[in-house]
Each structure stands twice: as C-alpha cells, then as structure tokens.
Symmetry: D3
Subunit: 337 residues, 6 copies
C-alpha cells in the first residue's frame, strides 16, 4: 500500500456554536485541522495510511491536537514536538445574507512556523513516503517553512516518490503585491509536482498565464494545458464554484491529463460547513489516481466528496468510498433505517 | 369517550445533537418513542385517552421511559414491568446530500420482545379497549410477540372493539425473503383489521396484489380496493411521499372507503425531523374517524399532521386539532406574538 | 455628535434553544431587548451615542439587564431603578410550516409600567436629548406610561430636539376595539413627530385614512402623504413584507419626504430570527437621516439592515455601516477568511 | 388507598446552571415546583395517588407545567385552567462562602393567585380527598387565596378528610409586622389541622407561645405541646437545621403525638440543592402516618428523606421508600453496579 | 519495548451529565471504556505500546468506539469486526448520601460476547504479545468468552509471554451461587497467571482460602501468600478501600513478592469519578514491574495513580509517570500557571 | 469621585468546562480578564469609575473583548485599537489531588505587547487619572511595555495622582535568573509607588531584603517595613495563603502603614475558581483606602473579597460592598429567598 504523507500546519479551530457571534456567545467548539490534516484523514477514511509531518508544542494543547489527529485516523508517528503554540482561528458561522467570519491569530509564531532548519530529518522522512501532499497555504508562511517544504519535495522526488501540490492561494496571507511575491515559490514547487490542484485563476494571477478570454471555462481550457506543459506536470485537477441566489452552492470538478479535460456533472447543494471542501476534492483525486480509477470516475467522486464535505461539521470530512459513490448517484435520500 | 390503546415496543432514541456524527460528538439527546407511543400520545393531544400496552424493565431506564410517556400524556396504567432492557436506536442527522443514519441495538432482547406468553391478561385488557392500534414493526419482531399481537387483536374484536393496523413494512427487520415470511402474518392481522394504513407497495410486495401498471397512482387505485374487499376492511388510508431536488419533501394523503378514494392536496415542506411522520398521519386518521368528520377533512388533516410532524423535534408529534387546521389553511405564517 | 435616546421597556427574552418547545426542553437562552434597546444598540453600532430611558428593578435580574445593555453598547446612565420585575416573553422557534410562538408574562406589573409619574426628571432628560425614539408598543401599555411618553416627547420638542415615532401597532396589546382606543393616543404623538415609521395599514386602521384601493402599493402612495400633511411630519418610512412559499421573506423599504416616495429594491432572504427586524430598519433610517445621506441610500441601507437583522441571533442586530453596505451590494458571499 | 391532594401554586424555577450568576450566564434550566407539587410528587414516589389542586394558564408555559407535573407522577386531573401566567423565581447557586440567591417575579399576578372565588368546586373536590396538604406560603399570598384555602380545608373536614398544614412562614412574603398579620390566618387554619409541620420558632413568633428559655430544644419541648393542645392537633413534626463551618448541614427531625416527643438521629451531609427539603420531610411524615408506621421509624425516614432531598437536583425529590431506608442505614455508599 | 495487549470488552458508557437522573435529564455524555481499554490506554500514557484484542460491530457505533480508542492512544490494529452491538451501561452520578447508579444493558448480545470460537487467530496474536492483561469481568460473561480467554492465556504462556490477571469479581454478573460457579474458572486462570490483582476477599470468597481472622489486614497477610504459593504466581498486588463519613475515600495499596508485603501510605482524597480506579492501580503495577522499579516505588505509584483516577472524568485515566509522581509527593497543589 | 485606571493586558481565557481536559473535551468557555480588568471591574462594582488602558485588535475577537469589558462595567473609552491579536490562556480545572493547568499562548505577539512607543498619549491619560493600578505581570513582558508602564506612572505622579503597584511576580514569565532580571524594574516602579501589594517573598527574592528568619510571619514583619522605608511607600498590603489537606484554602490579609501591621482573621474556605483572588484583595484595599475606612476594616474586607473571589466563576469577581461585608460577618449562610 502506498505511504502518503502531508507536510503542513495543524490549526486549532475555535468555532462559535450555532449562529451567534464572538460578542454574543460565551462558548467555543474546538477541533484541529489544516490542509494536511484534512487530506491525510480523508485518505485514511478511504483505507490508505496517511501520516502528517508537522511540529506541535509539548503542552496540553499539543497533546489534545495529537489525540484529535489519532481519532481522525491520521498516523502521528512522524510528528515532531517543540515550540510554544498552535496556530488558531476563530470561526463565526454566517446565515443567508450574513457571511461567516474567520479571524486568525498570528500563525507565524506557531511551533510549525518557528521550527528550525534541522527540525526534520528530511532524508529519513522521504524514504518513508510514496506520495507527498503540499499546499500553497504553507508556502505563504515564511522563508524557513518554504525551504523545508521545497527540500522535502526534492528529497521525495529523489527517493522516487510523487508530489501533489494544491495551489490554494490565499490573498490575505501574501499581502500587497502578493502574486509577484508568490510566483517564484509556486514555480519552484511546480517544477517538482506530479499532480497539481489549481484552476484558471491560479494560472493567470500567480503564474501569469494571462488569457484574453472572458469566460471562465474558456480560460481554464486555455491556461491549464499551458501550465501542465511548462512544468511537466502529470495531472491537473480543480473546481469551479458558484454561489447561487438561494445560498446553495454549485460545484463542477475537472481533471486534465494527456491533453484531455474531463468534467464532473455540476452539483448543486445546501452548505452546512464550507471549510475543507477543497481538501476533500484533492483527497478524492489522489485516491482515484492511486487506485488507477478511470479519470471520469475520479473527477465524479472528487466532486461528490467535495459536496459531502459541505454537509459535514468541521474542516475534516471523513467518508468511505461507498458513501461518496452513493452521494454521487443520488443526493436526495431518505433517512437510513 | 372511546378508549384507545396501542400494543407496541418503547424504544430509547439516542440522537447526536446538531449535525455531527457518533465519531465526532460526545453527547446524545435521548427520548422514548415507538409507533404505539407516537399514536397514543398524538391522540392524547387531540383530547382522547390513549393507553400503551407494553413491557418495560424495572430499572432506572425503565423509570425514565415511564416518566417520559406520562409527560407525553400517554396513559401508562396498562404497562407491565419485567425483563432487562429497552430497545434502542442511535440517530445521526443528515444534511442535504448526506443522509441521516439510524443504528439499532438488537431489539430482540428487550423487555417487550422477551415477555412471556402469559405476561398480559388479554381478556382483561380487551375489555378496556375500544380501539386497538397495531403496527407492522411489531409483527417483524419474533413469534412470541406476533402471537400476543394476534391474540390481543382477536380478543378486542370479540369484545366489540375496533382494530387499526399500520402495515409499516421495514425490509431490514424481515431480512432475506422478507415479503414471503411476512405475508401470512400480515394476512392474519388484516383479517381482524377495521382500519388499515398502507399503500400500493404494501399491497403489491407483501400481499401479492400485483398490478401491471407503472404509475403509482394507478397502482394504488387498483390494489387498495382489492385488499379492502379481500379482507373486509372498513377503511384504508396512506400517503405518497416524494423527495425533491431541494431536499424538501412532498406528501399526498389518501383515504378509501365504500369504494371511494379521497385525496389531500399535495403538501411540500422542509424537513426537520423525518421520524414519526407516518404515525402522525395514522393518528389523525383515527381521530377523524372517531370524530366522524367528513373523510375529505380527515385526509386533509392527516396530511397536515404528517407535515407538522416533519417540523417537530423528536419522533412524537404533539399538536392540537386547531394547530393542525391552521397548518392546513396556511403554512407560511409569521411568528405568533 | 447628536445625543439619541429611546424611552421604552426592557424585556427579558427566554428562548427555547433549537427547535423544541417549552414542553420538550428544559433549558432557555435569555437576553434582554425591547424596541428602545434595539434602536439605541443599533445606533451605537453605527457610532452614535444611544441612551435608554427606562426603569429596572434593583434585583439580580435588573443587574443582569443593565450588564447586558452595557455589552450591547447602550448608554445606561439615564436608567432609573425601582419596582419589582421585568416584562418577559418566552420564544419557541418555529420551523417551516410550524410557526414560532411568543408567550408574554403580564408586562403591566413591570418596573417600567408601574413607575410613578415623578419617576423621571423629564426636563433634565429632555435637555440631554437631540433625538428621541418612541414606539407604539409603549403606547399600548397603560395610561401612566402614555402620559410619561407624551410628556417626554413634548419636553424634547420644547428643548429643540426631534421625535421619531414607530407606530408598531400590536393588536394583542390593545384588545377589542383596539384601533378606536389607540387612535387618540397615536394622533397626539404624531402631532409631536418629526420622523414616523409606518405603512398604509397603520394609516388606514389606526388613523382612519381609509382608501378605497385594493393594491397595497396604491394604498401606501395615497395614505402616507395624507398622514404626513395632516400631522406636519417631516419624513415617513416603512416596509412591505411578503412571506414566500419556501419560507423565505421579501422586504421592500420606502421613504417619503417632500412629496416624494423612494423605494429600496425588494430583498428576498432566508430567516434565522424574525424579531427585531423592524427596529433594525428604523435605526438605519435614523442613522441615514442624522448623517444626511441621500434618501435613496438611506432606504437601501435600511432595507439591507432589516434583512441582516433576520439573519442574526437575538432581537438586537449589531452591524457596522460597512457590513450593511456590503450586504446591500451582494448577499451571497462566501466565508470571509 | 387514601386520596391525597395539595392545594397550592406551581412556580416556574429558572436556574442559572453551574455556579455562575444571572449577569454571567446566558442560559437557564427550568422546572416547575411548589410546596404542593413537591409533596404530591413525593407521595406518588411512595406509591400513593397525589393530586394537585391549582390553576394554570392556557399558554405554552401552562402546557409545559402540566406535562412536567405528569412526568413527576402528579395527578393533574383536578387542575383548573385560566389566568395569564405562572409565578416564577430565578435561582443562582452559591458556593461556599457565597450564598445562593432567589429572585421572585411578582407572584400575585399568577393564575393561581388571581383565580376568582368560584374557580374551584370546593364541595366536589372535598369529596375526592382523604388527605389535604396546605402550606403557609399560600396563606401569605392574598385574601382571595386565603379564603379558598380555608374553605377547602373546612369542606374536607366536613367530608371526613384530614388536613395537613405546613407552617412554612416566609418573612419576605408577609412584610413589615408580618407575624401580627399572619397570626389570625394561621390560627384559623390550625383549628382545622390534623397534622402540623412546625417548630418552636413558628410557635413563638407567629402564634405567640413565647417561652423564656434560651435553648432551642427546651423551647421546642415547651411550645409544641401547648400549640397541639390549644388547637387540638393530632400530630406535630418538624426539624432543626444547623449549618456547619465546612458548609455541610445537620438536620434533626422530631415528631410529637399523645404527649411524647421522638427524635431522629442528627444527620450531617453535604448539600447539592437546598430547596424542597422541608417538603421532603413533610411528605415522609405523611407517608409514615398513612402507613401507620411506628413513629420512631416515621421520623427517622423523614429525616433521611430530607437529607436525600438536599442531594437531588431540583426542588422535587423523588425517592422510593427503599431508597430512603437505605440512606438511613448507611449514607457513605459506593457506586451501585 | 514489551508489547502489551488486553483481551476484553469495550463498553459504551452513557452518563447523565451533572447530578441529575435518567428521569430528570434529556442528554447523555458518552465514551467507550472497559477494563482492557483502561489498562492499555494507561500503559500508552506511560509510553508503552498497548493493544486491545476485542470484537466491535461494523456500525457507526463501532466506528465511534474505534476512533475513541485511537484518541486514547490504544493500538487498534488487533481488533476484529463483527456482530451487532456494543455492551452499554448508563451511569447516574450520586452526591453525598445518594449513591451513583449503574444500569447495564444485556451485555451477552455484544459483538465481543457473541464472537465465535474461530474469531481470533490465537497463535498469531500470542506471537505479538509479551504481556497479556485479563480481567475477572470477562470471565463472568459466558462459556465462549471464557474459552477464548483461557486459550489466549495459554498461547501467550507457550510463546514465552506473561499473563496479568485482575480478579475483579462482580457479584451481579455471576448471580446466585456465584462464588461456586466462578471458582473453577478463576483457578484455571490463576494457574496461568504471573501477576495477580486481588485482595483477601477474592482469596476467601472465590478461592476458599478461608481465614478465621476478623481484621482485614491480618486476613490479607494470611491468605495472599497461600494463593501465591498454591498457583505459583510471581507477584500479587491490590488495594484496601475505605469510604469515610465525609464521603472522601481512602486507599492503601499492597504488593507481595518473594514472601514480602510492601504497602503504600494510606491516601485520602475526594472522589470525582469512581469508575476505573482499579484499572489505574493495575496499570501502574504493570508499568512498575515492566520498568523493574523497586517494588516500594511501584506500589506507591500505583496507589497515587488510583487516587488520580478518582479525580478524572471518565473510566479511563491518562497520566504520565511524572504526573503520578507529583501527586504522590504532594496532593494539595495550587493551580499550575 | 476619584478616577481610577489600570494599565495592563486583556487576556482571553479559554476554559474547559467541568473537570475534563483539553484532550477529553470539545468545547471551551471563554471570557476576558487580566489584572487590570479584574481591578477596574471590581472597583466599578464598588461604585467607582474604573477605566482600562490597553490596546486591543480591530477584529471580531477584539470587539468581543470590549463588549465583555463593558458588561463588567469597565470604562473602555481609554482603550487603543491596533495590532493583531489577544494573549490567550487555556485553563483545565483540577480536582482534589489533580492540579488545574494553565497553558498560555505566546503573549508577546499581542496587541498590547507589540504596541509602539507613541501608541498612548501619556500626558493626556495622566491628566484623567487619580489612581493608577500597575501589575508585575506587565513588567515581565518586554522592554517596550516596561517603558510605557514606567512613563505612565511617572506622568501620573507628576500630575498629582497616586500609583498602586501589585508585585505579582510570576517565575515562569521571567525565566532563568528571573529575580536578578526583575529587580531593577521593580525598584524603579517602587520609587513611584504609593500603595504596594506584596509579601515577604517578594521582598526577599526580588528586592533582596533577605531575612535570616524561618517563620513567614516573622519574615513579613521584618522585611515589609524595610521595603516601605527604602522606597517611601505609603501603604503595603498582601496575603498569606495556605492550602490545607482537605483542599480548602486559608487566607490571612495584612496591611502596613505608619509603622503598624494590622491583620485580618484567617479565613478558611473551599475553592471554586482560584484565579483572580489576588486582584480581588488588591481592589478592596484600594477601595478601602479611597473611602478612608479604618485600616482594620479595609484589611478585613479585602480578605473577605479575596475569599469570595475563590467562590466565583471566572477571573473577575464582581461584588458590592454589602456582599463583602456580609461574607465577612458570616460565611455559612443559607440560600437567600
């Protein structure tokens, strides 16, 4: 069985229950997540071994994070301990016309983001990894983390492993002139990437594959092949999201390989918890590729997994393959009893 | 005032609050329900005396069940005590494309399902009952319970009472070849039945009143009169449910008597708690028949009661007749203040 | 900065959490609200100083009310202490076809409604108020409160301040022949009013500006100018609400000044908490008028504020101007992160 | 089996959970209680039929109260409906040196306290009662309730029933010169009483049986026989409470009949919920007298029942006789499994 | 590092929060525990690898149990899946004079207790186990489980491993004539045991090592050496518990090896959660023996671990060795900050 | 009325409810506190005006903090906005032998600790302050904050105000060689101090007023007069705490002025929430001094206030003077009703 690992930060999510605000409430629900957590947990749900590579503090909060990851099914044996704290974010749910709000604490002081250069034994790690998942959010943190990320990707490639990279560009993390700052780092990672999660916006704004087209689909079909060719990437995949007037969302997944685009059917659904849906899509694409499913099946499953992630409490969606397949075939089911 | 009793099991419902799963949560909301509970409580809400005939253990859990039934307004004076435990089920709410899940513990070891033959004084009970409600779920349990059920129905008939039977076929309870196993028992009970709750699926699959038709409504109009005639049943009633793409449900009620079908308007509504809606429909039909309301009013009220049951926390819907009538006339009301 | 004050009762809101009923639940969420509370808190959220004039008991409940008002940003320095208790209401949320229910305790015994004639130093208060907000609910209480209300309005006018009056006619509070009882009091207050919140129903039923028209919009355009002219009111504003078959609501705001009607776009939205939306509309109109915004902007913002109030837990909606403006421009936003 | 009824008010108890205050919290736990509720529920727990005579409003709050009483096992068939509201009290738990606080709403406006003279059919009620329980708290309400109370006691006596009266003098309810105001009413009721719950303080301060003694026990032994003789009461019973430096309480029960005092052993115990302990004592005395237990056993059981009531969440203690007996024999038990 | 495994049932614990009863509450906190769970989790907390050998159903409840065990740090890779349900117990907390109550569902139908003879590959399991933990509760279940338990113990011994057996006799599980029924099974297991957890009661009542002595300590010192000699057991350990009048508990641990008794100091402490304390003692004894600590240190640590387990929410106590050592040296510490 | 201000950080307190740990729970109760918050809120409770000088981020978390401070009665008009986040700490309650645990996030990145030199207009602030409260915790933060603190103290003194300084030395914040690092900063502040909160440990370890004595009381009586003389401080006050074997705490307060020590009686009490008790003591001393109460009364009240703070949920104790006086006279009170 292929050994999958993700390199990334564990965040503590502190959510106001129900639909109140931080001003109104006096309790918070907490959990631990992050792109790497979501992907390794989802892959564990599909029956793979998914390990997280990160650094957590030796405090009761760090203990709670590790226990939570174990509960999710994540292999925690590659986790380093050190530093002082976790990154955190507060989440206030929106309702209808009122958008949800996310407030981050300063992540740069976290154990993950302050870990020193020699914190990880990159060669030893690489020897234990067949597939490595990386995320553009990590790339936005600081130079130390970026170096670790690139080094690990390079070591995994040297050792014969594969690299998955989810572009996941977050404007707030890169600040002013963010695209210009981000481009060289994205380019370096894409050189090492076998499977990329991105869409035409990433291609245009980060990488500068400008298209003169207006329509998103036309842009996608023009830009993605250029990116894939330029960086010699095996496969690209991603989604188009629409937010409808009735507050439902619609999602269409694509996968591109060997010059061919395949699309999922457009799925429309109500949203319970928006966060983590992109990771659910990515996880299902990785699963499909590892299982060598037909790519039409992979993109369909990935879109359905992303839809299910919107219906799930918390960032981390845990579904079996059969649950995803059933959601794909019919998503207006009665209670199961 | 007619004395109504139901014979059936009390289940403990253990529900994950909100939209989490058993893996994610650490608390459960509990209540006590069951087809007989729901029907006698609903009839108590309409002003009747509704007593439950069942067996509950002499444990703190049994005490809690009895206190809960008293709170619902159910007459608990006919309940026997004995055995070791209650049947239980766990409920995880779904959301949108993610269906809810029900997990039963093994009901067959419950006080109700292990009660011995002489547990109930059938003659004495029958003398105190004008209308007896029975349910196909009970019929699926085991031979001991089936015998008690048929015996009680027979005694009530002998004593001049009426029998209501809700077919309520649950495939999971009957297992492989379920329809074949179930048919003789259903037939024996229908021989004793004055008012049956069923639809064309029951007629076709359990009783074998096959129709060559494709359309559900055509099937219904063909099969129900045949069943009613064959078993000399006074009245049949039931519903057609549709689950719409936006996760609303639609319900149409029917009632059939003296060769005539009457239908409610099709009601479409969002769903808060799916469980117990069939019992709400049955209760309102019984109420309408006991009050000798015009049957069009009865079927309208029953459909509205079923709709309201979908908006109510818990299996057991408690509404007054005036609340049902108002929901019937207008179900987009502003807050009442 | 203009000094805004509202004269009105503080109510304790006792809400069954989730979608259960008082019979089903055993906990209540509580908060403190009232038309005056909602308006002064909303204006504090827009950056004004908003003070409440009321009377609260010297009990732990009274302390809790004051602390809660302080949390909302309301200036509590004008509040008198005395009497025995607060008015209270119980709120059971509805769902879909099941309407929410509000049950009041007898408000007439509250500290506010039993305060004696000399309880407030009206002249001193008036000297500290530039804009006074009054509400038709207060007018419905008893003769003592009505006298205080009229006296305060008169003193504020004498001292050069402005009076805002929200008609807010509640049939349940006025009882049989309510319109006839209410009319003289409404007329006396309207004589003192600079800005009135009302619509054509108020004009017709309370004030008798009968129109022979069938259409609400035609009625509005006929009756409001007549009211404004008769009572020499500077500005009138209000809303038309529709409740749609899918349980969303639609709202259209209007403002009328100098012979001209301006209307907001009709906003359609799902509803989380219905109560307090009218106060959110009124607050935004007051804010717009104080800021001397173009009236089209004011009515747009007021409609958007009312929409946001429907998405907010509790009676009292706290939004900044920028949040209202964003909701106006786009109310199908993704989570903010 | 003797038919027991209590005449008294149902209060809604609104308790801040845990150890916070009304200022700090935003939720309340609610239940329904009152002296009559506590006594009839406790007697139901001992296997008697206990009915409450009271008046409750026809509102969702009134429905919730009735459902709650049914859950407690109270016979609700003698309850009248009418009026507007329930009496309520807020409870903030203390801890150690910080005393708990109770804040009442104005009870005089409750359905019970505003019920008109003809509200109850006293003769019909009396014919259905063997033992009537009355409480000094009810006597403190208003003249209307006092008249109903005395009338019902007189009718029960005429019909051959027994009257139990718990003096339960609450200074806050009688106000200034309370003892003088209360005396004639207490005297009239004691004329009709068969079993009185009181101690030497009641005898001295309400009834004026002044003793020159300093020691409580000496006072008790002097005053109680005088009261019993003067009013020709069959039995008197009551408790002495001490609050110890470590916040445990100690309780000693007494019973007096035919010139003889019997005392329970002094029980010392930690306190979970102080309210309702006196009613638990009274209920066990009534039970012991009805069962004609030896009076030493009765007073022992009553003290143990009062002790258990201090360990029970809520005003109303529900124990079986065997649970009380076990607590009497050993109150440092391990978990039962 | 030695590989430790426990063979035993996973129970679902359903606890009424706070101090209410099943009648009063409507929510339950749930967790998963059992003697084997508690021991392997505690040993994981001390840094060992602890695996559970059991059978869990393939249902959402079974998934939740496995996720919970992973969170506790238990190695779940040896768990079989099958059967229908988990054993469950309801827990109502006591307070002071009111004892807590435990209500079991019928455990005999659980996946563990209905697993067939060939369910476990005993030889393969034994090859992966250095130390096997068994418990007298499992021995009480049924003949099938007893056979599996004895077979596994025998295989582990054959493979060179050690067997730990905790007598843990529960009268309620063995029923009438329980000691006589249990004796042969206990004897067979003790023949295979290297480390036994027991005290003089087990020796006397189960094994018949009757002593004519009255004093518990004298009994212990007489009976334990006889048991150890008879069954050729390396080490025996156990506790004496006293429940004090102020509801604190006192615990003294002993360990016996090579003819010598060593005792811990008697620890006295308040109790938060009584359940699982014996497993905490056993785990620390196992840990001390594996680490080859001086036996005085081992028994001291074990007593302190048991004390800490009484202060911990839930059956399963998770402490590091340093936390146990600190509690041993001083158990009246201030908050750590 | 004197204007009191405190300069200090606002911390977000995130507390695991009940007695679970961060590993076990999934919810947190949150509130906002800090030495300055506790003191200004307590003084507001005594009827003074208490303003906090701090810096809070312009985020939903910052808004929540300000709203919470308003609720506590703190004057928030002097608060600056800026920076990115709040300091936070996690609190796990202990029980008996298990100590509570506090885990801080890295406070140095908070808005308060990163505010730049010119953030506060020191001269303007000083002109609005009669009494300034400072705390040794703030002194431990970083050089920037220390400079602001000293500058503000100097400006307040220049403007004729008084300075209160609570030594509050926290070893964990100063790290290795902490006393040596801290001494010069403590000395500089004590030069500006009018009222100091300290005890003999502070005098010995921070300031080096070593005494050769063994007994704490003798040390206190020797060292405090030397400190007061050396730094020309008007008044010193502080407490001695003992933690007893039964987990109660004992507290004795002292006050020293004009060469005379006065002591409160030693108070012994159970502890609900340990944090914030020192601030409650300090607040009551400040209140007593401002009211010019006899110093024996002041120290008695301060000890009682500290005792009450241990019984109060949260860091911040809010009591009126009459509540403190009552606790002083009798702290084994019955419930108030």
């Amino acid at each position: 069985m292929p050994r999958i690992a993700a390199f990334g930060e564990v965040m503590m999510r502190l959510q106001v229950p129900g639909h109140g605000t931080l001003v109104q409430s006096n309790t918070l629900d907490y959990s631990f997540s992050g792109s790497g957590v979501n992907v390794t947990a989802a892959l564990a749900g599909y029956g793979h071994n998914g390990a997280l590579i990160t650094t957590l503090p030796e405090t009761p909060v760090g203990e709670a994070a590790i226990a939570y990851l174990r509960k999710l099914g994540v292999d925690t044996s590659l986790i380093c301990r050190g530093g002082k704290q976790l990154g955190m974010y507060f989440l206030e749910n929106g309702f209808g016309a009122r958008p949800g709000r996310v407030t981050y604490t300063d992540r740069l002081g976290s154990s993950f983001n302050t870990a020193e250069a020699g914190n990880y034994d990159m060669v030893a790690l690489a020897s234990r990894i067949d597939v490595l998942h990386l995320c553009g959010i990590t790339l936005a943190m600081n130079e130390g983390v970026r170096k670790q990320m690139k080094r690990l990707a390079a070591e995994v490639k040297s050792a014969g492993g594969k690299v998955v990279f989810d572009c996941n560009y977050r404007p707030a993390l890169w600040g002013a002139d963010g695209y210009a700052k981000a481009r060289p780092h994205y380019e370096q990672l894409l050189e090492l990437t076998d499977l990329v999660l991105m869409n035409e916006k990433d291609a245009q704004f980060i990488l500068g594959f400008g298209t003169g087209e207006y329509d998103r689909m036309t842009q996608l079909k023009q830009a993605i092949p250029e990116v894939v060719e330029r960086f010699e990437i095996g496969t690209a995949a991603g989604t188009h999201r629409e937010i409808n007037a009735d507050h439902t969302h619609s999602l269409t997944g694509y996968i591109y390989q060997h010059g061919t685009f395949l699309f999922s059917r457009k799925l429309t659904f109500p949203v319970y918890d928006r966060i983590g849906a992109g990771d659910a899509f990515a996880s299902a694409v990785i699963h499909g590729e590892l299982q060598q499913y037909p790519q039409q099946q992979t993109v369909n499953m990935a879109a359905a997994a992303a839809m299910l992630a919107h219906t799930t409490q918390g960032d981390t969606a845990l579904f079996t393959e059969s649950e995803v397949l059933r959601a794909l075939s019919d998503h207006t089911l009665d209670v199961e009893r």
